[in-house]
């Protein structure tokens, strides 16, 4: 069945990607043409169409680099430098992944705790829940520098400030899903447990927690993606430290468009890997009992 689905999707996805690639090349010619003419070709005098296309595909500082340029840059930035060198993109991906995962775990704990409190306390449900929703309207991404400085003044430096920002973005989906999930047990199931005269703690572990898992995992996938975005943005203001966000920033700073693009692609790959990680954990925990 899944084999079948895979094949069903393969052809359309491949087709669309191919169309996208072609469009990309055309767009690159169109976008880069002006700059190429002004800075590369015009100084040399007369030029032909072929020269224009070739030049737009191999520009130093393109407005839109073409895919093979990016692929090449990715390749060199992964394989041409030792793994522990700051020139290696994998190192930066690793740094970002570390902060994201730390923040994600922190967010998981915080979100879970909040959800448990909210489900068990009417006061917190009424008083806190609206503020948790409002908290997500605060553009933490914009206040990342302030958070970094406040945390810095409290002696928290290094990876933790970034992880804190990631946590801020992660905890929300977790809380919302957990609140929903912990309340998911039907009245019937709650009453059943009640006739056994189970304690609150027993009810939590025997009924509420297991029934919240199906809600939790989809939210975890959302959370880790949000956390990654948070980490990357938290890496922007600190500038040239390690991490994909720093690569984005310095790429922009040194006018290295290719570097921006490879950092973006790497971030995308990292996002996919991290979500796959969550999916794998989900499969391990609930996979085999999922309904057919």
């Amino acid at each position: 069945m899944s084999q079948n689905r895979f094949q069903q999707h393969l052809v359309p996805v491949a087709t669309l990607l191919a169309v996208g690639l072609v469009l990309w090349y055309l767009l690159a010619i169109w976008l880069n043409a002006a700059g190429v003419i002004e800075r590369v070709l015009a100084p040399q005098g007369a030029w032909s169409w072929q020269e224009l296309v070739a030049a737009t595909f191999s520009m130093q500082r393109p407005v839109l680099p073409v895919p093979h340029q990016i692929a090449l840059d990715l390749w060199t930035s992964i394989f041409d430098a030792p793994l522990d060198s700051p020139r290696n993109l994998l190192l930066h991906a690793w740094v970002t992944a570390g902060a994201t995962l730390t923040g994600f775990l922190m967010g998981l704990v915080l979100g879970g705790l909040l959800a448990v409190c909210i489900v068990h306390s009417r006061t917190l449900d009424r008083a806190l829940m609206p503020w948790i929703v409002a908290s997500q309207s605060v553009p933490v991404l914009a206040i990342a520098p302030i958070v970094l400085i406040i945390l810095g003044s409290l002696g928290i430096t290094g990876m933790l400030p970034k992880a804190t920002i990631a946590m801020y973005l992660c905890f929300f989906p977790v809380t919302v899903a957990m609140v929903q999930g912990l309340r998911a047990p039907q009245r019937l199931e709650m009453e059943l447990i009640h006739t056994y005269s189970a304690s609150r703690i027993q009810t939590f572990f025997v009924l509420r927690l297991p029934s919240s898992l199906p809600f939790l995992f989809p939210s975890l996938r959302v959370a880790i993606a949000a956390g990654l975005a948070g980490t990357i943005v938290a890496e922007l203001p600190t500038g040239a430290q390690a991490g994909l966000g720093a690569r984005l920033l310095t790429g922009s700073y040194y006018g290295n468009t290719l570097q921006i693009w490879s950092a973006l692609i790497m971030a995308a790959l990292l996002g996919v890997v991290l979500t796959a990680l969550v999916a794998a954990v989900e499969y391990l925990i609930v996979g085999r009992r999922r309904q057919a």
Binding site: E191, T195, Y196, V206, L207, P210, S211, R289
Partner: protein, 277 residues
């Protein structure tokens, strides 16, 4: 009130019914339940008076909304009474619940999908802190009794609706409740499965002689299973008639074609119709 029965042995719990001082499992005195609905209060139960003796199989029957479920819930401490008194084994329902007096079987099986069949049956036993081995032994035994030996490792959603309901009954029985409460346990099943389960339940009761309070919509089911049938009527919920069953305790499905059965069913139907006015 209780006609002694030829098949009855003196030693069985049912013999209690025959002694002059019956041992009551449930006593309700002028018990009323009023729901505060949005617009106006609903009299779900109105001054109910009745007694269920130990070892009886009592069915509650009545039209939708007459308060059958409410009565069951009151007995099981799932709903407080507004006035009057309900005693279970001489205690308040709440105390009885704390002493694990109840096994409750709902209309839906209410099994936990993340637990295997075995683990579902073990659940109530684990909650009261029985050892794992003990839980498992009891659960296996109960599953055997409802004919589900060999299905221990399955998950609920791998079973048919009828099998699920049997798991739910095994779970309630494993708890060794003093009183088994069943709220339309077979309502969602098809007729054939239902017949089978009716038969099994009857045999089970015959074997164990637990007190059973059973809610149903089906006249045939009520007549087939019960030693006593309580007919209720709505608005406000009250008891119209209590019918003692003259049928022998040992029954099989063919009893449904006997004239006695038909007469009893007719009596119930008339009582129902009466209450329906």
């Amino acid at each position: 009130m209780n006609a002694p029965h030829p098949t009855e042995l003196q030693a069985s719990p049912h013999s209690a019914l025959e002694t002059p001082v019956a041992r009551p499992a449930v006593v309700a005195r002028k018990a009323s339940v009023i729901y505060q609905a949005a617009d106006r209060p609903v009299h779900a139960l109105s001054e109910i008076d009745f007694t269920i003796n130990r070892g009886e199989f009592v069915s509650l029957i009545g039209p939708s909304g007459c308060g059958k479920t409410t009565l069951l819930r009151v007995i099981a401490d799932l709903e407080p009474i507004t006035s009057g008194e309900v005693l279970v084994n001489g205690m308040t329902p709440s105390d009885a619940r704390e002493r694990r007096a109840y096994g409750y079987v709902f209309q839906a099986p209410a099994l936990f999908p993340w637990r295997t069949v075995l683990a579902n049956v073990m659940l109530p036993l684990q909650l009261i802190g029985r050892s794992k081995a003990e839980c498992e032994a009891i659960a296996r035994e109960q599953l055997g009794r409802v004919g589900l030996a060999g299905f221990e490792k399955k998950y609920p959603w791998q079973l048919s609706g009828g099998m699920q309901q049997r798991v739910s009954i095994a779970r309630a029985l494993g708890f060794e409740p003093k009183i088994l409460m069943m709220d339309e346990p077979f309502g969602a099943l098809d007729e054939i499965t239902r017949d089978k389960l009716n038969e099994q339940l009857q045999q089970l009761w015959l074997r164990e002689r637990r007190t059973v309070v059973f809610v149903t919509h089906s006249i045939a089911e009520a007549v087939y299973l019960s030693t006593r049938i309580v007919v209720m009527s709505p608005r406000p919920g009250r008891i119209v008639k209590v019918i003692e069953s003259p049928l022998p305790f040992e029954r099989d499905l063919s009893i449904r074609d006997t004239p006695e059965f038909t007469r009893l069913a007719q009596e119930v139907r008339e009582a129902l119709a009466e209450g329906h006015q």
